[in-house]
Every structure is written in structure tokens, then in C-alpha cells.
Symmetry: C2
Subunit: 276 residues, 2 copies
């Protein structure tokens, strides 16, 4: 038997895109990173909901969702836990920024073994840093997972220390928005709080799952509040619920909110994303 | 004799890029749009200076400039006036936002006949509108011509009327920044003024050429000042110096500043970018 392809372009085995695709020209596209456990992606409907929201915002049509799911399963087959990346661009168009009326979206599905993180990260928490880069406020693009990600690239380039698992991002007013590739929750005065994402940041599907399971206050969250939080954790579709134990030099401890959600995450069908 | 290729990838005839190139994944790249008249691009050194600035900001190495120039000339050969697009991405890397240490940039050169605009646009001016989309403030990315261009795509999608040649963009505070694909100059109280681009906008090479030729005040420029300007014109490497005759319902007339620069533009070697 042949190995199934881990890379599909427009649903077919392939490894290239047109050089003048608007994804490459302008980042004119969307993407999702989806955890599959075997053929199942428990958060698939949330990924599709966000993708539809993004496509409506950018104004292009998506491929059929059944096709996307079939391609994702093909790419991830034989991987017990697969990180499937799905990207959809507006396609090739005439020159210039004006979106072509009849572009044909190009879409790519790729799969890799899902990251396996140290068990310690889930039990004791991770160390993170505060990034210097501030996210710009752009309500027209906030929340969706579009392919204009230079802010995240520059923020992630700020450190090169394997002991630092993530970086926290603030907006220009100093409010905490998220990590570079995860959302943030904090327990403040006994209440679970997560930053509002109407001006910047990506509204993660794991964040959406937490919002559906808990009473959460969604509002601006200052750096000082985060520093004084009773507990802080990150959420990510690939990594699940990850508590923080250190932000720069400030020490935190995993708390009951993260522990409870970690248990529910396993029950959702994700199993354990960690070693041992 | 065979027709020279109008599309080159990494200096060779080709029409595709790796599907997982970071240009397509994150808009992690830079581009230039360069007017060639025969084998000459009078603003080539300015394009290269901006490209180097962008590469330093994003933290990746550029291909050799002599190679870029040779490829641009090959792509544009047989076109008397060519619009050459040169894009350079960081290349393929491991998953995630962290820039790979040893990525190999991928670069694409494409050529098309330069746009020919109605002579009337240069003589009497163009009609433009004011866009609803406001540019986000991101000093880390301001000025350079990176490939995160969804703001420009969304702004350009606001209208579909061939009589409207461009759209003016403001920042969130209401200051005028530029057009969607050109820079803006206004004569205010007898002084030539152009918006500061330290928080958003692209610092165009045609703008740089004007700054080198004239005394220009570079500062924040309010919408009200633009509306009361004695004259307004746009600058673009492809289109040159284009006066405005109407902004929404407000009427303007081409003035001496634009006329003088139009003459110098022809003398630079660009000839006439218009019909007749």
C-alpha cells in the first residue's frame, strides 16, 4: 500500500501553487490549524464557522466543506494525532489590489504529526515572555484567521530560547490580547476573563469552546490585571489548555479553572497531547 | 526566436511556488512594482533601497541584486513599457510563526505591459473617493512594501466604478495617509506636504523621488487640510504624477506643483504613461 499524501492542493496530491496566487502576493487568504485524532477533529465545526466568517469578511467563496474534510482526513491518515493545516486563498487574479470578480480559490491541506509537548507543561505550566511588538488595531480584520501574519512572525522572532514556550502580545494601549499562537484566559477576582478581540487578535476555536463551557467575561484586560491574576492559561486548538507558571520574572501556579478544562478537553476526544 | 518568459521563479522560467512557502502561509515577504522603459528602470536604486529596508525589518536575506535586475529585464524584454513585479518571500520553513534560521528565500519576477492611462487623467486629473477602511497603526511594518496587504485589498473592494481611479485612506485618527496604491501630496498654504508614514502606509519610491527634488513638509495631514488644499496629486512608480480633480463631491484643479513634476518625470526617462 502506498503512503497517503500529506500535502494536497485543491484536493489533489500536489506541492505547489501558482506563483501569482493572491495568497502569495498579498496574504489574501485564510487558514485553520486543526487537530485530528484519527479521523476525528472534535472542533471541526468551530474551525469551519471561523473560516466562513473570514471568507465573508474578505469576500470570497469557500470550497465545499465536505471536500475540505475529506482532504484533511486523507492528509492526516496514518497519523494517530495530526496537525492539519488548511489554507484557502482568493486565487489568481488580475494585477492590483482589486479583488477579481471570478477568482477560483486555491486551497492547500497539509498534515504533520501533532506536536507532543512535555507532560510537565500541562501539569506545572509553561514559561512565557512579554513581547515588545504591539498588535495594531484593525477591526476589519480582527478575530478572523487571515494570512496577514507578519505581526506574529515578528513577535515570535523576538526570542530564541526553547525554555520560553510563548510570548504575550499587547495592543498599543497596553491591554493584553493573546499569545502569538494561542488565546489567553485569566482568573481575576474569582472570575474567568478573556480579552475582547474586536480590534486585534485571532478568536481561536479553543477559546470559543471555553466560552461555550464556562461563564467568561470578555473585555479589555490590562497588563497589571494579568500580573495579579489568580491563574492564567492559554488555549490553542493544537495544544489544548496550557497553564502559565511564569511570565518574565513573575511566578504563577496552575489553578482549578485550567485543571477542570484540561479534564474536559480529554473527554472531548483529544486524549493527551503530552508525553508519558 | 522564442518569446522571453514573462514569469520567472528564482531566476528561471517557472510559474509555481511551494505550497508551504511562508509568503502564501503568512504573507511573509516583500514586493516591488517597477516601471521599465526598455531595459531601463529609472527608479531601480530606490526600489532596491526599499527592498533592503524591508528585508532588514523582516530579518531575511535578499537574492543578489544583479540577479534581480537581470531577471526583471528578461521578464520585461519585448515590452516597450513593462510593469515588472518582483516579490521575495522568506521561503519554506518549519511550521509555526518562528522564522526558520536557514530558509532560502523564493523570488518571483513577472512582467506585464505597463498600464496606459487616459491622457486626460494627467492633464485634468482623476476622480477619487474616500475609503471607509482605516489603516491600522503598526510602526514595525510601516513604510516597507511587505506582502500583508489585506487592508489595501478590502479598501479597493469598496468601489467598483471605473470612473473612480483611486481611494484615499485615513488612519484611525482621521489623518490622510495615502491612496490604496499611491502616495499623496497636497499644497497647503503654499507648502508641499505629504503624510508621515511612521505608523502606517507604504513609503513609495515615486514619493522618495519627489522628496529628493522638492522641499516637502512631512507630517500628519488632516482630512480638512486635504479638502482645503490648493492642489492635490498622487505619486506612483507605475503611474507617475497624477493630479486629483475630484475627491467625492469636492472639486480640485491640477496645479503648478504637479505640472512641474510631470515634466521632470518625463525627463527622468519615463516618457509618457498616457495615451495619445
Amino acid at each position: 500500500m502506498s503512503t497517503p499524501p500529506r500535502l494536497l492542493v485543491n484536493g489533489q496530491p500536489g506541492d505547489s501553487l501558482p506563483a501569482l496566487d493572491r495568497g502569495a502576493l498579498y496574504g489574501d487568504g485564510l487558514f485553520e490549524t486543526i487537530l485530528f485524532v484519527g479521523a476525528d477533529a472534535p472542533l471541526w465545526p468551530r474551525h469551519m464557522a471561523r473560516l466562513r466568517l473570514g471568507a465573508a469578511r474578505l469576500g470570497f467563496a469557500l470550497p465545499d466543506e465536505a471536500q475540505l474534510l475529506a482532504a484533511a482526513r486523507t492528509a492526516g491518515a496514518e497519523l494517530p494525532r495530526a496537525a492539519v493545516r488548511l489554507s484557502v486563498s482568493r486565487g489568481v487574479g488580475e494585477r492590483g489590489y482589486a479583488p477579481p470578480r471570478a477568482a477560483q480559490p486555491n486551497w492547500v491541506v497539509s498534515a504533520a504529526p501533532a506536536p507532543v509537548l512535555p507532560a510537565d507543561w500541562y501539569a506545572r505550566g509553561i514559561r512565557v515572555r512579554c513581547c515588545a511588538l504591539r498588535l495594531a488595531a484593525q477591526p476589519a480584520l480582527a478575530g478572523i484567521k487571515h494570512a496577514n501574519r507578519l505581526e506574529q512572525v515578528l513577535a515570535r522572532a523576538e526570542w530564541d530560547d526553547a525554555q520560553i514556550a510563548e510570548g504575550l502580545l499587547r495592543d498599543r494601549a497596553g491591554y493584553v490580547v493573546s499569545a502569538t499562537a494561542a488565546n489567553l484566559f485569566a482568573v481575576v477576582g474569582g472570575l474567568l476573563v478573556t480579552p475582547a478581540l474586536d480590534e486585534c487578535g485571532v478568536a481561536g476555536v479553543a477559546r470559543a469552546e471555553v466560552l461555550a463551557r464556562r461563564d467568561v467575561v470578555v473585555r479589555r484586560l490590562s497588563w497589571e490585571e494579568v500580573m495579579q491574576a489568580e491563574e492564567i492559561f492559554l488555549t490553542s486548538s493544537l495544544r489544548g489548555i496550557v497553564p502559565l507558571r511564569q511570565v518574565d520574572d513573575s511566578v504563577f501556579a496552575p489553578g482549578a479553572a485550567a485543571r477542570g478544562l484540561q479534564r474536559e478537553w480529554r473527554a472531548l476526544g483529544f486524549g493527551d497531547a503530552h508525553e508519558g
